[in-house]
Amino acid sequence: MTDIILEARNLTKEFKGFVAVRDVNLQVRRGTIHALIGPNGAGKSTVFNLLTKFLAPTHGQILYDGRDITAMKPADVALMGLVRSFQISAVFPHLSVLENVRVALQRPLGTSFHFWKSGSTLHDLHGRALDLIEAVNLTPWAHHTAAELPYGRKRALEIATTLALDPEVMLLDEPLAGMGHEDIERTAALIKRVSADRTVLMVEHNLSVVAHLSDTITVLRRGEILAEGPYEVVSKNAQVMEAYMGTGHA
């Protein structure tokens, strides 16, 4: 057991000559909530894509729990317990809310290739699925299709689906975007609660939530790390303040 669960070493990603992420060194400590913040286009989502292997890095290395995962496939990384959400709400729109969560729960059954089995063999999962749905306050929507949900609720469903895998590390890309005030509080509390026995790495623009939740904050600007540390330290950094003033965030 190393103290660092997820580590990026000299991570660089170029898109046709444009460097979106430059030489990023990131260490995420086990059991913490770690926030990645920065102005639009700073490269936060790209870092997420790199860490979860949805993009291959141009240079650099990624270590998960001490193992080099740089050459692995995204699905395999997910199976190891490194599960992400997406910035653009990622639900299965024409499946019901219940089915959305159930898809995440069904893989461990080992019947996911069984095309001859009745779908009713999945009904055993409904109890757990409904518990997760309850946790994100979606119970009244359980039997609606995900497409019917307002945007903020879709984000909540996404969190429930991610949680269904009981991941060791959860990477959340702007989980609170588009949520109403009440849902933000509820979801922030949920993130705090579920972080008790896992690690959370999140990108979030809502700085008051970030300040409140995070143990560590990494500030990214133009693909490079500008500052890192607890909120009290990072927020007093002159460069960070400038970067945020410059783009209208505060």
Partner: protein, 325 residues
């Protein structure tokens, strides 16, 4: 909050399996079965068998496009290859019909595995183009290989004795055998769509990156769907070869690949009954128009264009979307 839901109920029922349709489905299925059993007493059995073969072909295609979101433009390769294999096995090797059809279906499945393994990593138009190119290679082989007899095809294929006891030269015996094959194929599609596998497939169709992020190696699921679809398309082609006692180049042309796309879209892709309705419609139109002096492809083409413009979800898809639950 509830008012917001009402405003957003523009859900595409067309791409959903008619799962929550309640008591209506068994009724419809029962009525359909009765019709199918009684039909040969009112209509030509050969016409009905053609409808059934194409309906199965379209169901196979629909499994891929409607439930896995993969658009193949080369499905004639499986249909036609199986027709040749079944015809050759029945004629040259004198295999009984059930074994000839089984062998042909297995060959189609194997071909599907090869095609799938090559095409599955590509998306959208690239996937369609690769399947088209591969099926053109099959067409070339069918034209050149000696056992297919080039332009003539394999003619006078014996239907044989099913399980050694049922003489398939009897039109009714043949019809009910074809009906049984169709129902078995349809049941398999229905089961697959509603199985644990079907759930994952739908998730992949809906949002592949999300399915990957949940730990699904999506290529393997798509490949299995492709093989199943190829096998069922083969089953349809092999059965058709016995019905018409003929395997010919028509069955492996790209037009045949296009026809199954048309049937499926017309009926409603992603619905279970859509492909059946689409196939019945196209086959019926073709046989009516053949007796007139109208240019068949032009008329079918116009109907297709109108249908796609008016019923974006296909006939069954629109019905499901508009029918109050």
């Amino acid at each position: 909050m509830t008012s917001q839901i009402g405003a957003e109920t523009g859900v595409e029922a067309g791409v959903r399996a008619p799962a929550g349709t309640g008591a209506r489905t068994p009724l419809l299925v029962g009525a359909g079965l009765l019709l199918a059993v009684a039909a040969p007493f009112a209509l030509y059995p050969v016409f009905l068998m053609k409808v059934l073969c194409f309906a199965l072909f379209a169901c196979a295609f629909n499994l891929l496009i409607g439930f896995a979101g993969l658009m193949s433009f080369g499905h004639a390769a499986f249909f036609g290859t199986a027709a040749y294999v079944a015809a050759h096995a029945a004629k040259a090797w004198a295999l009984p019909p059930e074994l000839a059809v089984l062998a042909a279906t297995l060959v189609a499945a194997a071909l599907g595995l090869v095609f799938g393994a090559i095409a599955i990593r590509r998306q959208g138009i690239y996937f369609a183009m690769i399947t088209l190119a591969l099926s053109q290679m099959i067409y070339f082989l069918a034209l050149q290989l000696p056992f297919t007899h080039g332009e003539d095809g394999i003619q006078a294929v014996p239907r044989g004795m099913l399980f050694g006891v049922i003489d398939l030269m009897d039109p009714l015996a043949m019809y009910y055998s074809v009906l049984a094959v169709f129902l078995a194929g349809f049941a398999l599609v229905w089961r697959a769509v509603n199985s644990p596998f079907g759930q994952v497939l739908k998730a992949i169709r809906e949002n592949e990156p999300r399915a990957i992020s949940l730990g699904y190696r999506t290529e393997r699921y798509k490949l299995l769907a492709f093989v199943l679809s190829a096998a069922l398309a083969g089953l349809a082609g092999a059965t058709k070869a016995l019905v018409f006692q003929l395997a010919s180049l028509t069955d492996v042309t790209w037009q045949m690949s296009g026809e199954v796309v048309l049937m499926t879209l017309l009926g409603g892709m992603g619905t279970l009954f859509g492909p059946v309705v689409g196939a019945a419609l196209v086959v019926t139109l073709e046989s009516y128009l053949a007796a007139t002096s109208l240019p068949v492809p032009v008329v079918i083409g116009c109907i297709f264009v109108v249908c796609v413009l008016v019923f974006r979800r296909g006939i069954v898809g629109e019905l499901l979307a508009r029918w109050p639950k």
